[in-house]
Amino acid sequence: MYQAHDLGLTLQGKTLLHGIHLAVKPGAVTVVVGPNGAGKSSLLKLLAGERRPTSGCVTLDGTDIGTLAPAVLARRRAVLPQAAEVAFAFSVAEVVGIGLGASGTARAAAAIEDLLARVDLPGFGHRRYESLSGGERQRVHLARVLGQLAVGTTGAPRYLLLDEPTSSLDLSHQLLVLRLARAHAAEGGGVLAVLHDLNLAAMVADHLVLLAAGRLLAEGPPAQVLTDAVLARGFGVNVRVNTVPAGPFILPQSVDGA
């Protein structure tokens, strides 16, 4: 299990996170929601091991991840960044191949093509990364992190940390990403996703965490967290859950096959 124990982060005198307890369980999708500046990305950075907490610790199966070698950690968890700019004109296949830690062999080429097909970018391998749209780039990185976990430690749950994985995607690809996250959990892996869209969060989460002003405000199954009262406290808006508006509205939940 991936766990945060009493996690705190203070940067330049500003408290970004305070007293966070969190468990990312294998076989489940955990989603973090919250308003801008709530500390969602900071929390993800601490869980990824990219930044050390000011207080508390993050453990993977009971071991403080700060004591694990980066290479050991990388075989157990992969991180999808919000937006990654790639220096130099790498091809899409090369970017995905970096995740696999190999390229050039026929086996690697087949694995890369397979990963690209999973994120709906079949045949994109030879394209230049910098020629792609924002949404396509995001999916290239998703293919890369899926590949990183595929070649990771076998026999132990592997964890996928996703930082706003749907932010530049259209509706059908948002659902694709959620399906892949669910599939990873179904195979016994753990997923932690920071999401902006509460509907998507409600759809995909087994466990929903609401973060506001650096504190964990509420957590539990989506139906327990997404209530009028909790949302009013977390987001500072008066909203009525499950109320159907008069005009046309589109919910990701209503897409066929979602």
């Binding site: 950075k45 990824a48 091991g49 990219e50 070698a69 980066p70 290479a71 050991v72 950690l73 990388a74 075989r75 992969a78 991180v79 960044p81 990654a84 700019e85 790639v86 220096a87 130099f88 004109a89 790498f90 091809s91 090369e94 970017v95 970096i98 995740g99 830690g101 390229s103 050039g104 030879h126 394209r127 230049r128 910098e130 020629s131 992190v145 990183q148």
Partner: protein
Amino acid sequence: MSAQMRHARASGSGLWPTGAGLAGFAALALLAFFAALALGPVTLPLGRVAQVLLEGIGGHREQVGTGLRDTVIVLDVRLPRAVLGALVGAGTAAAGAIMQGVFRNPLADPGLIGVSPGAALSAVAWIVLGGSVAGLLSPEARMLGLPLAAFAGGLATTLLIARLAMREGYTSMATLLFAGLALGALASAGTGVLVFMASEQQSREFLFWTLGSLGGATWMKVGLTAPFVILLLGAGPFLARGLDALALGEAEAFHLGLRVERLKRIALLLVAAGVGASVASAGVVGFVGLVVPHLVRLSIGPGHRALLPACALLGAAVLLGADILARLIAAPAELPLGVVTALVGAPFFLWLLRRRAAIG
């Protein structure tokens, strides 16, 4: 974008297959090496060069007439110069490629951002201070310490630049270039002061350190430069995966399992070693570390596994070619090497920038 351009851009990350590119660069390097042995005030046919070279390898030297002349020209005059040129070119270009990988920026050339001038300054300081603090150092110690001093100066400048331009894993391109220009100008000024204070034939020596030359090539210099360049090139394959991952960003490289700080430290140490040794024996030769990696990325793509050896090969070819021009253009006088590389490299680089802007 036209369909044709889309197709051209879709053909992989480089214009040529990696193997073909490497073979092409190796052929160019070999060609330039033999041309460097054949061309000069006395031009020898390639067959004759090969013959003298083979005899030399077999330990045999022709002792009379034109045989003696050819042997002296090829084995004693041009061969050490060509070997030194190949080492300096390979080291400078590979160091440029590694530095650009660390800073994730194709403009991070050791010459452009002050590392080479920094190395030159400390090399000059070593010579001048080592000479004036008389009796402290034997001439041999002065000579042996020279590449080490240049290495230390290059390393100090590299670390200073890295500290100035990098913040939380992000390199500010503007700060990198402007701070580098300022440091480079400062280091060159310092070199000027030291040279003019200390030496009789001032302006000549100042030109050597700021514009470079292979004129003083000896086997001693070859022997002092080779270990550093071989270290740099030998370490290349071990850095390749890390530099590729670094292209995605420092946080991403960590997520992929790299010890990012250690990788950067080792890479910058190697850069300083390659640049320091090159500068100690040939002065500051600009543009090779900038243009060569750029050309190689265009032709075979940016993956570092092939990029580093390809840069070494093309760097050797380019530097030897430039040295041939430097010797021939104003023969019997010699142009400073850096003048030739700048004359060819600067317009070429501007053209590349324009072309890149037009495409992308």
